[in-house]
Subunit: 420 residues, 2 copies
Amino acid sequence: MTGKNAFYAQSGGVTSVINASACGLIETARKHKKHINKVYAGRNGIIGALAEDLIDTSKESASAIAALRHTPGGAFGSCRYKLKGLDESRAQYERLIEVFKAHDIGYFFYNGGGDSMDTAHKVSQIGKKLGYPITCVGVPKTVDNDLPFTDTCPGFGSVAKYVAISTKEAALDVQSMCATSTKVFILEVMGRHAGWIAAAGGLAGQGSAEPPHIILFPEVPFNAKAFYARVKECVTKYGYCVIVVSEGARYKDGRFLAESTTKDAFGHAQLGGVAPVLANMIKDKLGYKFHYAVADYLQRAARHIASKTDVNQAYAMGKAAVEFAIKGNNAVMPIIKRTSDKPYRWKVDSAQLSKVANKEKMMPKKFISKDGFGITKACRTYLEPLIKGEDYPPYKNGLPIYVQLKNIAVKKKLKNDFKI
Amino acid sequence: MTGKNAFYAQSGGVTSVINASACGLIETARKHKKHINKVYAGRNGIIGALAEDLIDTSKESASAIAALRHTPGGAFGSCRYKLKGLDESRAQYERLIEVFKAHDIGYFFYNGGGDSMDTAHKVSQIGKKLGYPITCVGVPKTVDNDLPFTDTCPGFGSVAKYVAISTKEAALDVQSMCATSTKVFILEVMGRHAGWIAAAGGLAGQGSAEPPHIILFPEVPFNAKAFYARVKECVTKYGYCVIVVSEGARYKDGRFLAESTTKDAFGHAQLGGVAPVLANMIKDKLGYKFHYAVADYLQRAARHIASKTDVNQAYAMGKAAVEFAIKGNNAVMPIIKRTSDKPYRWKVDSAQLSKVANKEKMMPKKFISKDGFGITKACRTYLEPLIKGEDYPPYKNGLPIYVQLKNIAVKKKLKNDFKI
């Protein structure tokens, strides 16, 4: 006897370890045939469910699934698509039920961030509200590190490691060049609402003399005067200044620094990001030669330097999701619970989706130094274990061996299309 | 009996492996006390010689010197400072001799690119022309890969590896997102005159369907019409388009694409780089959502993912420089000579500085595909071995352990200062 099929989808921006969660989930499901027959993945996330475009993961070899553990990106495709409430979007939920029924799907696993946990929560209610019983478990993922309850979000630790290492490396470069050339280096990182990723840059050095000398957080209103003073102080004292800036850095009135830029010939704002804006401000005011980097997707795709802690946690979340589901736990999300800082110890726990949905975990004030330009010891204690350990992918001819799955579609059973 | 002292300096933009050359040079010198007493490094390159600001590397432990092999940046500081000809800048050369005499320096090692080899060549002539005999050996280094005679330049292989891996990883990200979000991803890389680094992005995929779909080289005049057509074709066929662009990409008339940008309120050109310019062009013409990254210093500092081949070659160049010098070879530069493609085999050879100086090695035409947007098989055969092998630094608490030397100054012997 085998169980019902499971639906799994990746949602929102991907990470370098979201496939490690998929790996944990599929490998664990394969060990519990009695409860879960096949895992069908949505092609391009929830859109795959609405379009009845399901991927039969049982067609993938054990080694291909194992390779997901070290492959970045979203192996089945992700999407930015938010389901509204049951009342507003009844047709969509009814379509989901139609597809789930047609493919004998009894489990719904949704791998994403805050919005996705909201969707997962809504789907968990269709048993009661629309009469289709389904066990629904969220799988946490987001580089933004903003899900509540969990110690951290899979995906964040690896971005944090990438940003800390990149800051450290680029700082050595500018330090070498500063006598006659570049004096200021700016690294722009992700984080529109919260400064978690920028904070990770702070791990590159200790004390005010070591780079990064300045971190700009979305949580701290930008103070141009204090900023210029600190840049000048660093160049004078240390010969150079390294800055990590969150894309969400903003003025007191909420305007993003990245917006304070000129319009092009068509009246569009120049989409230069915050780094070039800051660089030009420094050039104009202080005259220093600068360089800047924009990490963008590189930071969240950099599986080559993923955090081992993060990879292990991502895998554990996928595994736990299946274990919760086969115990019949509906409307939950596995979380990471920290039980000790030094040494870092954690265990798997769970949170109710109803409590997780649409709640953002912001950086605590005590994590940002008094001058607003750095991280505190408390922040360091929190962040350090998350970047610990390396988990190198296998290489061939100098390049990582990342898997591309066959992604064979499950034969459609429904006659009608559904307009997305 | 011990020999004369040696002067070593790092010059121009640093790389993730220039310190590996320093390591090879210092370790080898330490084995030949009979010929070379101490290695004095110039603090901030040649400026250290002119200012009599010498670093006594004999004060560094064997383990600190060994750690240079895996530490990026320039451990003694570098500079952008070009010595003019002997006739034009006689005072500078006389000052060099004054400092060399005062510190019993009989060897001059200069670690840099084309300009630096020109300087090294000029210094090699001061024996004949100014009566101060010195053995002068250049040590090749440049991420630009544009030195002649040598198969490749230490520093390039590691940037190439970083760019190839980053392209591959970011491509998996955008491939996951393209159904509902980002359709175009652009990675801006270094290379103002030659497209070597951009070409390395091409190693990320094979064939026209695999990313990167477009590479923009400085060697190929930008053709907007063909470019838009290819971007559109990729998005239509594959769902997304990945572009690697050299900072030196330019129009037929020589103008850089990066210049074709608007002025800010002060009339300054917006310093946005080429990636945002391209991104906005695509947005305006084709309407696709985009992301872009600017790798900047990250690419040439990324020791965490250096090429093992590159590290070995960088070390070998430093070692060979000493071996040439103690044999009395003046005015030479060690080079890498490729003896076989598959398997890649190379040996150390030498070139005359007089022939190396101020000569740029451009990408051969046969390395760029007919449509101008990709690399050929010949290019791949050349590039592939250069990124081969990983050479991970040691880690502690999730971060690479990079060494900061003590850099203790040699006591000054001269009374007079010299205006740089």
